[in-house]
Protein backbone atom coordinates (compact mmCIF):
# COMPACT_ATOMS: atom_id res chain seq x y z
CA UNK A 1 0.00 0.00 0.00
CA UNK A 2 3.04 2.25 0.15
CA UNK A 3 2.64 3.60 -3.36
CA UNK A 4 -1.08 4.19 -2.86
CA UNK A 5 -0.18 6.30 0.19
CA UNK A 6 2.58 8.16 -1.66
CA UNK A 7 0.23 8.99 -4.53
CA UNK A 8 -2.52 9.98 -2.10
CA UNK A 9 -0.22 12.36 -0.24
CA UNK A 10 1.08 13.76 -3.53
CA UNK A 11 -2.50 14.46 -4.63
CA UNK A 12 -2.79 17.10 -1.92
CA UNK A 13 0.00 19.15 -3.49
CA UNK A 14 -0.94 21.70 -6.14
CA UNK A 15 1.09 24.17 -8.14
CA UNK A 16 1.80 27.14 -5.92
CA UNK A 17 1.95 25.12 -2.72
CA UNK A 18 5.01 25.46 -0.52
CA UNK A 19 5.24 22.06 1.14
CA UNK A 20 7.21 21.22 4.25
CA UNK A 21 8.22 17.60 4.58
CA UNK A 22 10.40 16.32 7.40
CA UNK A 23 13.73 14.64 6.89
CA UNK A 24 13.11 11.37 8.64
CA UNK A 25 9.90 10.54 6.82
CA UNK A 26 10.57 8.73 3.53
CA UNK A 27 6.88 8.51 2.60
CA UNK A 28 6.42 12.26 2.84
CA UNK A 29 9.62 13.10 0.98
CA UNK A 30 8.71 10.62 -1.75
CA UNK A 31 5.26 12.20 -2.10
CA UNK A 32 6.77 15.66 -2.43
CA UNK A 33 9.28 14.56 -5.04
CA UNK A 34 6.58 12.68 -6.94
CA UNK A 35 4.28 15.70 -7.05
CA UNK A 36 7.02 18.00 -8.32
CA UNK A 37 7.97 15.42 -10.96
CA UNK A 38 4.42 14.86 -12.23
CA UNK A 39 1.25 16.60 -11.13
CA UNK A 40 2.50 19.77 -9.45
CA UNK A 41 5.77 20.90 -11.06
CA UNK A 42 5.13 24.43 -9.82
CA UNK A 43 5.02 23.45 -6.16
CA UNK A 44 7.96 24.20 -3.89
CA UNK A 45 9.31 21.52 -1.64
CA UNK A 46 11.23 21.96 1.59
CA UNK A 47 13.07 18.79 2.51
CA UNK A 48 14.32 19.68 5.93
CA UNK A 49 15.89 23.00 5.04
CA UNK A 50 16.69 22.20 1.41
CA UNK A 51 14.55 24.04 -1.13
CA UNK A 52 13.35 22.22 -4.26
CA UNK A 53 15.99 19.48 -4.28
CA UNK A 54 16.79 18.06 -7.67
CA UNK A 55 17.70 14.60 -6.48
CA UNK A 56 16.37 11.13 -5.88
CA UNK A 57 14.87 10.00 -2.61
CA UNK A 58 18.00 8.34 -1.28
CA UNK A 59 20.02 11.52 -1.76
CA UNK A 60 17.34 13.63 -0.11
CA UNK A 61 17.26 11.34 2.92
CA UNK A 62 21.03 11.47 3.24
CA UNK A 63 20.86 14.98 4.66
CA UNK A 64 21.65 18.55 3.66
CA UNK A 65 25.29 17.98 2.72
CA UNK A 66 24.28 15.34 0.18
CA UNK A 67 22.15 17.92 -1.59
CA UNK A 68 24.88 20.54 -1.97
CA UNK A 69 24.64 22.10 -5.42
CA UNK A 70 21.34 20.37 -6.10
CA UNK A 71 18.91 22.67 -4.38
CA UNK A 72 17.57 26.18 -4.82
CA UNK A 73 19.24 26.98 -1.52
CA UNK A 74 18.67 26.26 2.11
CA UNK A 75 16.24 27.70 4.60
CA UNK A 76 17.54 27.63 8.17
CA UNK A 77 15.31 25.94 10.70
CA UNK A 78 14.27 29.18 12.37
CA UNK A 79 13.21 30.59 9.01
CA UNK A 80 10.91 27.61 8.45
CA UNK A 81 9.26 28.53 11.75
CA UNK A 82 8.85 32.09 10.49
CA UNK A 83 7.44 30.71 7.24
CA UNK A 84 4.84 28.80 9.20
CA UNK A 85 3.88 31.91 11.14
CA UNK A 86 3.50 33.97 7.98
CA UNK A 87 1.79 31.20 6.01
CA UNK A 88 4.68 31.25 3.56
CA UNK A 89 4.48 27.49 3.92
CA UNK A 90 1.07 26.30 2.77
CA UNK A 91 1.08 22.59 3.47
CA UNK A 92 2.90 20.22 5.76
CA UNK A 93 2.91 16.45 6.03
CA UNK A 94 3.10 15.07 9.58
CA UNK A 95 3.39 11.58 10.97
CA UNK A 96 1.96 11.73 14.50
CA UNK A 97 1.66 8.98 17.07
CA UNK A 98 -2.05 9.72 17.20
CA UNK A 99 -4.65 11.84 15.46
CA UNK A 100 -8.35 12.09 16.28
CA UNK A 101 -11.47 13.05 14.37
CA UNK A 102 -11.16 16.69 15.35
CA UNK A 103 -7.67 16.89 13.89
CA UNK A 104 -5.85 16.99 17.21
CA UNK A 105 -2.32 15.62 16.98
CA UNK A 106 -0.23 13.73 19.48
CA UNK A 107 3.51 13.58 18.96
CA UNK A 108 4.27 13.55 22.69
CA UNK A 109 3.01 10.73 24.84
CA UNK A 110 0.36 8.16 25.59
CA UNK A 111 -0.35 7.71 29.28
CA UNK A 112 2.77 7.19 31.30
CA UNK A 113 4.25 4.27 29.45
CA UNK A 114 5.02 5.33 25.92
CA UNK A 115 6.94 8.44 24.93
CA UNK A 116 7.64 10.01 21.59
CA UNK A 117 10.16 12.68 20.56
CA UNK A 118 8.18 15.56 22.00
CA UNK A 119 6.43 18.74 21.02
CA UNK A 120 8.69 19.67 18.13
CA UNK A 121 6.73 22.21 16.14
CA UNK A 122 3.49 20.31 16.46
CA UNK A 123 2.24 22.68 19.12
CA UNK A 124 2.80 25.57 16.74
CA UNK A 125 1.96 24.59 13.18
CA UNK A 126 -1.68 23.47 13.29
CA UNK A 127 -2.87 26.96 14.14
CA UNK A 128 -0.46 28.52 11.64
CA UNK A 129 -0.41 26.55 8.41
CA UNK A 130 -3.39 26.60 6.09
CA UNK A 131 -3.31 22.82 5.70
CA UNK A 132 -1.75 19.85 7.38
CA UNK A 133 -2.07 16.29 6.15
CA UNK A 134 -1.32 13.63 8.74
CA UNK A 135 -0.26 10.18 7.65
CA UNK A 136 -0.05 6.85 9.47
CA UNK A 137 1.70 3.87 7.91
CA UNK A 138 -0.61 1.57 9.90
CA UNK A 139 -4.28 2.30 10.42
CA UNK A 140 -5.01 1.01 13.90
CA UNK A 141 -7.44 2.07 16.64
CA UNK A 142 -4.77 3.17 19.11
CA UNK A 143 -3.38 5.62 16.53
CA UNK A 144 -6.85 6.92 15.66
CA UNK A 145 -8.58 7.21 19.05
CA UNK A 146 -11.78 9.03 19.80
CA UNK A 147 -9.65 11.65 21.49
CA UNK A 148 -5.86 11.79 21.50
CA UNK A 149 -4.25 10.97 24.84
CA UNK A 150 -2.31 14.20 24.78
CA UNK A 151 -2.97 17.24 22.60
CA UNK A 152 0.40 18.30 21.24
CA UNK A 153 -1.21 20.25 18.41
CA UNK A 154 -4.79 21.45 18.30
CA UNK A 155 -6.56 21.61 14.96
CA UNK A 156 -7.49 24.86 13.26
CA UNK A 157 -7.54 28.41 14.44
CA UNK A 158 -7.53 32.04 13.51
CA UNK A 159 -5.60 35.12 14.40
CA UNK A 160 -7.39 38.44 14.58
CA UNK A 161 -10.08 38.29 11.94
CA UNK A 162 -7.70 37.85 9.03
CA UNK A 163 -7.92 34.19 8.12
CA UNK A 164 -8.88 30.73 9.18
CA UNK A 165 -6.33 28.00 9.24
CA UNK A 166 -7.72 24.54 8.86
CA UNK A 167 -5.08 22.58 10.73
CA UNK A 168 -5.30 18.90 9.83
CA UNK A 169 -7.51 18.48 6.76
CA UNK A 170 -6.89 14.81 6.05
CA UNK A 171 -5.36 11.64 7.37
CA UNK A 172 -3.78 9.23 4.89
CA UNK A 173 -3.27 5.65 6.09
CA UNK A 174 -2.51 2.30 4.53
CA UNK A 175 -6.26 1.54 4.58
CA UNK A 176 -7.94 4.83 3.70
CA UNK A 177 -7.98 8.56 3.25
CA UNK A 178 -10.03 10.32 5.92
CA UNK A 179 -11.22 13.90 5.47
CA UNK A 180 -11.19 16.02 8.63
CA UNK A 181 -13.85 18.69 8.31
CA UNK A 182 -15.39 21.16 10.74
CA UNK A 183 -18.51 18.96 10.91
CA UNK A 184 -16.45 15.88 11.67
CA UNK A 185 -14.45 13.13 10.00
CA UNK A 186 -15.53 11.54 6.74
CA UNK A 187 -14.28 8.47 4.89
CA UNK A 188 -13.04 9.98 1.63
CA UNK A 189 -11.70 6.81 0.01
CA UNK A 190 -10.54 3.28 0.79
CA UNK A 191 -7.35 1.61 -0.39
CA UNK A 192 -7.73 -1.08 -3.06
CA UNK A 193 -9.17 -4.28 -1.57
CA UNK A 194 -10.25 -2.61 1.68
CA UNK A 195 -13.88 -2.25 2.72
CA UNK A 196 -15.49 0.70 4.45
CA UNK A 197 -16.53 -1.58 7.31
CA UNK A 198 -12.92 -2.55 7.95
CA UNK A 199 -11.89 1.08 8.12
CA UNK A 200 -14.71 2.00 10.48
CA UNK A 201 -13.90 -0.98 12.71
CA UNK A 202 -10.28 0.12 13.03
CA UNK A 203 -11.01 3.82 13.65
CA UNK A 204 -11.63 4.98 17.19
CA UNK A 205 -13.58 8.10 16.22
CA UNK A 206 -16.87 8.48 14.39
CA UNK A 207 -16.62 8.44 10.61
CA UNK A 208 -19.27 9.58 8.21
CA UNK A 209 -19.42 6.97 5.46
CA UNK A 210 -20.96 8.08 2.16
CA UNK A 211 -23.16 5.65 0.21
CA UNK A 212 -20.50 5.27 -2.46
CA UNK A 213 -16.94 5.20 -1.17
CA UNK A 214 -14.34 5.69 -3.88
CA UNK A 215 -11.16 3.64 -4.06
CA UNK A 216 -7.99 5.65 -3.51
CA UNK A 217 -6.31 5.76 -6.90
CA UNK A 218 -2.78 4.44 -6.88
CA UNK A 219 -0.07 6.04 -8.97
CA UNK A 220 -0.84 6.22 -12.68
CA UNK A 221 1.66 5.08 -15.32
CA UNK A 222 3.53 8.39 -15.35
CA UNK A 223 3.71 8.40 -11.58
CA UNK A 224 4.90 4.79 -11.46
CA UNK A 225 7.68 5.65 -13.87
CA UNK A 226 8.60 8.68 -11.78
CA UNK A 227 8.69 6.59 -8.60
CA UNK A 228 10.95 4.04 -10.26
CA UNK A 229 13.27 6.84 -11.22
CA UNK A 230 13.14 8.66 -7.86
CA UNK A 231 13.31 5.61 -5.62
CA UNK A 232 14.43 2.46 -7.44
CA UNK A 233 15.24 0.62 -4.21
CA UNK A 234 11.95 1.33 -2.45
CA UNK A 235 13.19 3.41 0.48
CA UNK A 236 9.76 5.02 0.61
CA UNK A 237 8.43 1.82 2.13
CA UNK A 238 10.78 2.01 5.09
CA UNK A 239 8.60 4.40 7.09
CA UNK A 240 8.48 3.35 10.75
Amino acid sequence: MTDVMVAALASFITDGDVVGVGLGTPLAVAAGLLARATTAPGAHLLVGGAVDPDADLATCLAGPEALAGRTAGYVPHLDTMDMAERQAMTLQFLRPAQVDGAGNLNTSRVGTTVRFPGGLATGDVPALLPRLVAFLPRHEPRALPERVAYVTGAGGGWRGDAHVTRGVVAVVTDLAVLAIEPEGARLASVSPGVTADEVVARTGFALEVPAEVPVTPGPDAAQRAALDRLDPTGLRGLAS
Binding site: G24, E65, Y74, T113, G119, L120, A121, G123, D124
Partner: protein
Amino acid sequence: MKWIGREEVRSLVPDGAWVAIGGIGSDRKPMGLLQALVDAGARDLRVVAFLGGVDVELLLAAGVVAELHTAGVALDSGLAPHYRQARQDGAPLVIGWSEGALLAAIEAGARGVPSLPCTTSPRSGVVATNPHLRVAPDPFTGAEVTVARALALDVALLHVTAADPDGNLVVDGDPGVDGELARAARTVVASCEARLDQRAAGAVISRIWVDALVQA
Protein backbone atom coordinates in the same frame (compact mmCIF):
# COMPACT_ATOMS: atom_id res chain seq x y z
CA MET B 1 37.11 36.36 25.01
CA LYS B 2 39.95 33.87 25.39
CA TRP B 3 41.01 30.42 24.30
CA ILE B 4 40.88 27.88 27.11
CA GLY B 5 41.64 24.23 27.49
CA ARG B 6 38.92 21.63 27.80
CA GLU B 7 39.74 21.17 31.47
CA GLU B 8 38.80 24.78 32.21
CA VAL B 9 35.24 24.46 30.92
CA ARG B 10 34.00 23.12 34.26
CA SER B 11 35.03 26.30 36.04
CA LEU B 12 32.59 28.24 33.87
CA VAL B 13 29.62 25.98 34.64
CA PRO B 14 28.61 25.96 38.32
CA ASP B 15 26.52 23.17 39.81
CA GLY B 16 22.87 23.89 39.22
CA ALA B 17 23.56 26.22 36.30
CA TRP B 18 21.11 26.78 33.46
CA VAL B 19 23.05 25.39 30.49
CA ALA B 20 21.80 25.74 26.93
CA ILE B 21 23.22 23.47 24.23
CA GLY B 22 23.50 24.69 20.66
CA GLY B 23 23.07 22.71 17.46
CA ILE B 24 20.03 20.80 16.22
CA GLY B 25 19.43 17.08 16.61
CA SER B 26 22.74 15.49 15.70
CA ASP B 27 24.11 18.58 13.98
CA ARG B 28 26.87 20.65 15.64
CA LYS B 29 26.47 19.38 19.15
CA PRO B 30 29.33 20.38 21.53
CA MET B 31 30.07 16.83 22.61
CA GLY B 32 33.64 17.62 23.70
CA LEU B 33 32.45 20.37 26.03
CA LEU B 34 29.74 18.15 27.48
CA GLN B 35 32.16 15.29 28.04
CA ALA B 36 34.53 17.71 29.76
CA LEU B 37 31.75 18.73 32.13
CA VAL B 38 30.83 15.15 32.88
CA ASP B 39 34.46 14.14 33.43
CA ALA B 40 34.97 17.05 35.83
CA GLY B 41 31.98 16.13 37.98
CA ALA B 42 29.40 18.75 37.01
CA ARG B 43 26.07 18.22 38.79
CA ASP B 44 22.42 19.22 38.87
CA LEU B 45 22.45 21.03 35.56
CA ARG B 46 19.30 22.65 34.24
CA VAL B 47 19.69 21.80 30.59
CA VAL B 48 18.00 23.56 27.68
CA ALA B 49 18.29 21.70 24.36
CA PHE B 50 16.11 23.23 21.64
CA LEU B 51 16.18 20.00 19.58
CA GLY B 52 18.34 17.40 21.27
CA GLY B 53 19.92 14.11 20.41
CA VAL B 54 23.17 12.50 21.50
CA ASP B 55 23.97 15.56 23.64
CA VAL B 56 20.97 15.00 25.88
CA GLU B 57 21.55 11.25 25.94
CA LEU B 58 25.14 11.77 27.11
CA LEU B 59 24.14 14.05 29.97
CA LEU B 60 21.22 11.90 31.06
CA ALA B 61 23.35 8.76 30.99
CA ALA B 62 25.96 10.52 33.15
CA GLY B 63 23.33 11.54 35.68
CA VAL B 64 24.26 15.22 35.69
CA VAL B 65 20.85 16.61 34.76
CA ALA B 66 18.46 18.02 37.35
CA GLU B 67 15.99 19.39 34.84
CA LEU B 68 15.67 19.17 31.04
CA HIS B 69 13.84 21.64 28.81
CA THR B 70 13.40 20.69 25.17
CA ALA B 71 11.08 20.78 22.18
CA GLY B 72 12.11 17.26 21.31
CA VAL B 73 14.89 14.71 21.54
CA ALA B 74 15.51 11.98 19.03
CA LEU B 75 18.41 10.04 17.61
CA ASP B 76 18.97 9.46 13.89
CA SER B 77 18.06 5.85 14.59
CA GLY B 78 14.78 6.74 16.28
CA LEU B 79 13.78 7.20 19.90
CA ALA B 80 16.38 8.32 22.44
CA PRO B 81 16.38 5.67 25.20
CA HIS B 82 17.61 7.73 28.17
CA TYR B 83 15.27 10.57 27.29
CA ARG B 84 12.43 8.11 27.01
CA GLN B 85 13.26 6.57 30.35
CA ALA B 86 13.48 9.94 32.08
CA ARG B 87 10.05 10.91 30.83
CA GLN B 88 8.57 7.59 31.90
CA ASP B 89 10.22 7.69 35.33
CA GLY B 90 9.51 11.37 35.91
CA ALA B 91 13.16 11.79 36.89
CA PRO B 92 15.07 13.82 36.11
CA LEU B 93 12.34 16.39 35.48
CA VAL B 94 11.61 16.86 31.78
CA ILE B 95 9.63 19.93 30.73
CA GLY B 96 8.30 19.73 27.19
CA TRP B 97 8.10 22.76 24.94
CA SER B 98 7.10 23.47 21.38
CA GLU B 99 9.81 25.02 19.24
CA GLY B 100 8.00 28.33 18.97
CA ALA B 101 7.46 28.60 22.72
CA LEU B 102 11.03 27.70 23.61
CA LEU B 103 12.36 30.17 21.09
CA ALA B 104 10.20 32.88 22.67
CA ALA B 105 11.52 32.03 26.14
CA ILE B 106 15.12 32.20 24.93
CA GLU B 107 14.49 35.44 23.03
CA ALA B 108 12.78 37.02 26.06
CA GLY B 109 15.92 36.33 28.06
CA ALA B 110 18.06 37.81 25.29
CA ARG B 111 15.97 40.98 25.13
CA GLY B 112 15.66 41.48 28.85
CA VAL B 113 11.88 41.32 28.98
CA PRO B 114 10.07 39.17 31.54
CA SER B 115 8.16 37.20 28.87
CA LEU B 116 7.22 37.11 25.20
CA PRO B 117 4.05 35.92 23.45
CA CYS B 118 4.33 33.19 20.83
CA THR B 119 2.06 31.63 18.26
CA THR B 120 1.91 28.27 20.01
CA SER B 121 -1.72 27.27 20.24
CA PRO B 122 -3.13 27.93 23.73
CA ARG B 123 -4.88 24.59 23.34
CA SER B 124 -1.69 22.58 23.00
CA GLY B 125 -1.04 20.22 25.88
CA VAL B 126 2.46 21.62 25.93
CA VAL B 127 1.04 24.82 27.39
CA ALA B 128 -0.90 23.03 30.09
CA THR B 129 2.11 21.00 31.26
CA ASN B 130 4.78 23.69 31.22
CA PRO B 131 5.04 26.11 34.17
CA HIS B 132 6.99 28.55 31.99
CA LEU B 133 4.01 29.00 29.67
CA ARG B 134 0.76 30.75 30.39
CA VAL B 135 -2.26 31.81 28.39
CA ALA B 136 -3.11 35.47 28.78
CA PRO B 137 -5.08 38.14 26.92
CA ASP B 138 -3.00 40.29 24.63
CA PRO B 139 -3.00 43.76 26.19
CA PHE B 140 -4.04 45.47 22.95
CA THR B 141 -6.48 43.10 21.27
CA GLY B 142 -7.65 40.98 24.17
CA ALA B 143 -7.01 37.84 22.13
CA GLU B 144 -5.83 34.83 24.15
CA VAL B 145 -2.17 34.19 23.45
CA THR B 146 0.43 31.82 24.80
CA VAL B 147 3.15 33.68 26.67
CA ALA B 148 6.58 32.25 27.46
CA ARG B 149 8.50 33.28 30.55
CA ALA B 150 12.08 34.38 29.93
CA LEU B 151 14.72 31.76 30.58
CA ALA B 152 17.74 33.12 32.46
CA LEU B 153 20.50 31.15 30.81
CA ASP B 154 23.80 31.01 32.65
CA VAL B 155 25.84 29.26 29.98
CA ALA B 156 25.52 28.52 26.28
CA LEU B 157 27.66 25.68 24.93
CA LEU B 158 28.09 25.85 21.18
CA HIS B 159 30.01 23.94 18.56
CA VAL B 160 30.96 25.93 15.48
CA THR B 161 32.91 25.56 12.29
CA ALA B 162 35.57 28.13 13.07
CA ALA B 163 36.63 31.17 15.04
CA ASP B 164 38.45 34.07 13.45
CA PRO B 165 41.35 35.91 15.14
CA ASP B 166 38.93 38.30 16.86
CA GLY B 167 36.81 35.50 18.26
CA ASN B 168 33.89 35.87 15.86
CA LEU B 169 32.23 32.50 15.29
CA VAL B 170 31.62 31.06 11.83
CA VAL B 171 28.81 28.56 11.42
CA ASP B 172 28.54 26.55 8.21
CA GLY B 173 25.05 25.25 7.52
CA ASP B 174 21.94 25.72 9.62
CA PRO B 175 22.72 27.94 12.63
CA GLY B 176 19.75 26.56 14.57
CA VAL B 177 19.19 28.86 17.54
CA ASP B 178 22.89 29.33 18.29
CA GLY B 179 22.76 33.05 17.54
CA GLU B 180 19.85 33.47 19.92
CA LEU B 181 21.61 31.45 22.63
CA ALA B 182 24.75 33.54 22.23
CA ARG B 183 22.73 36.69 22.87
CA ALA B 184 20.78 35.21 25.74
CA ALA B 185 23.36 33.42 27.89
CA ARG B 186 25.55 35.17 30.40
CA THR B 187 28.56 33.05 29.47
CA VAL B 188 29.14 31.64 26.00
CA VAL B 189 31.63 28.85 25.41
CA ALA B 190 32.22 27.63 21.87
CA SER B 191 34.23 24.67 20.65
CA CYS B 192 35.66 25.37 17.23
CA GLU B 193 36.81 22.97 14.56
CA ALA B 194 39.21 25.51 13.06
CA ARG B 195 41.01 28.74 13.90
CA LEU B 196 41.02 31.14 10.97
CA ASP B 197 44.02 33.33 10.18
CA GLN B 198 41.93 36.08 8.70
CA ARG B 199 38.89 37.98 9.82
CA ALA B 200 35.74 36.13 8.80
CA ALA B 201 33.56 37.63 6.12
CA GLY B 202 29.85 37.04 6.04
CA ALA B 203 27.46 36.00 8.78
CA VAL B 204 29.03 35.31 12.13
CA ILE B 205 28.16 35.15 15.77
CA SER B 206 29.86 38.28 16.97
CA ARG B 207 32.78 38.14 19.40
CA ILE B 208 30.75 40.51 21.55
CA TRP B 209 28.82 37.52 22.84
CA VAL B 210 31.70 35.06 23.10
CA ASP B 211 33.53 34.45 26.37
CA ALA B 212 35.61 31.35 25.84
CA LEU B 213 36.80 29.29 22.91
CA VAL B 214 37.99 25.70 22.94
CA GLN B 215 39.80 24.00 20.11
CA ALA B 216 37.71 20.97 19.19
